[in-house]
Symmetry: C2
């Protein structure tokens, strides 16, 4: 009951994704598997079009588009996306700012949808970005509605600072989570990108608990403290609306 080769293959694949472009020896060390084994896996994955080697650059490996194409269609996130897109669109029109939809993956939030603003100055996260929970409005609300154990486990890990304004002390984060719970939405001024403020609210499935979050982001010069409450209640209302439409 192990399916070892498959497990190592996936580990190699994840290592390639993380370290790309990367060579054989480095991968072998990263995955802690002999070179010969890694080599065979690489060749196999190449045949399957999941990875490709750079023409130059000593033939280092990278993830191929095909892998992305396979995994991006559907995904559990898409159910959420489908029910969220309508309300998010309305929220975008109402606020005029960038809207993000993110779901948790391990210790990060992954941005699975974005609606843009017409403003020249705009907040920007590439789709598929993986951002730290404690440094983002989406992550913070998600944490605020997660179980105590999860939060404790999360705060065990070192909290990297994305900007000088990122909260890096566990107590500080805990206090903020409490504030978020009573307030109903999160506010993150410059914690992820300097000069960008975001306001977020969690999507909560009745059965599964928190499954993701949404946020409104824009330059701190536009999203000023006097707008926090207006945007906050709008985001929270939209989140509630989506939550109720959630499958399950």
């Amino acid at each position: 009951m192990s399916t070892r080769s498959v497990t190592t293959a996936i580990h190699v694949l994840e290592a390639v994704a993380e370290l790309q472009p990367v060579g054989l020896s480095e991968l072998s060390r990263a995955v802690e598997v002999p070179k010969a084994t890694v080599q065979r896996v690489l060749v196999t994955l190449e045949e399957l079009q999941w990875i490709e080697r750079a023409e130059r650059d000593g033939g280092k490996w990278s993830i191929a588009v095909h892998a992305y194409a396979v995994t991006s269609r559907g995904s559990s996130g898409s159910r959420i996306r489908d029910v969220a897109i309508g309300p998010l669109s309305a929220l975008q029109l109402e606020t005029g700012e960038t809207i993000h939809l993110a779901v948790p993956d391990e210790l990060r939030m992954v941005v699975i949808e974005r609606l843009d603003t017409p403003h020249v100055l705009r907040a920007f996260l590439a789709l598929g970005s993986r951002i730290p929970m404690h440094a983002s409005a989406t992550g913070l609300t998600f944490l605020a509605h997660s179980s105590e154990e999860f939060v404790r486990a999360y705060l065990q890990h070192p909290l990297a600072a994305s900007t000088p304004d990122t909260m890096v002390h566990p107590q500080e984060v805990q206090a903020e989570l409490k504030a978020i719970r009573s307030r109903g939405y999160s506010i993150n001024p410059g914690g992820l990108s300097s000069g960008i403020t975001a306001i977020g609210a969690a999507l909560i499935s009745r059965e599964l608990g928190p499954v993701g979050s949404i946020s409104v982001s824009g330059p701190s010069s536009r999203i000023t403290p006097d707008k926090f409450q207006e945007y906050g209640t709008a985001v929270a209302a939209t989140a509630r609306q989506i939550s109720m439409a959630l499958p399950g």
Copy 2:
């Protein structure tokens, strides 16, 4: 020299992506591998968080977000995305319409980035959408700048119609490709979705040839023939700009 189990595992994964939500027996049939083997692979992939089973619904399988998160970071597409995002943002502001960035995968174009418009009426392709080349503005420009062999090989396959307006005759497509080459950009009125017109231009790496395309899309009621040239030159200029900034 085969790494069979890895190959079947990936095949199972791709089948899950295509058929999700899907059950054991159906997968077994799709991949043409005994149930027992598929079962073991599924359990392994679940342990690795690449797939998950629906709580209800008889435990059917779907791709998990984690898989998406792994493959979306980086990927050959992302290099393109990184250099493209700035110019695309400018193009979006200039035109006010939805911008798509797509790269080829097998016989399709895969949408890897999108900048949308604040308009209520908006063109919309989900990220990761796989669209036929002959039915899309992005695909057509890509074809127009591909090798003759590639085009011939592509046109060998039956050309499915996405809408009544899709070009389905090889000669028709060939003629259009010629027009695109002399014009510098592609125009696709309603070929992919009825009522949506798109204008595209290819991203061409000096060393690798065409590596992807960009397009401006919107309702045909807004993107009228009198705007074709304006948008066309804008798209083509942006594509050239990105092409020059391309790595390699």
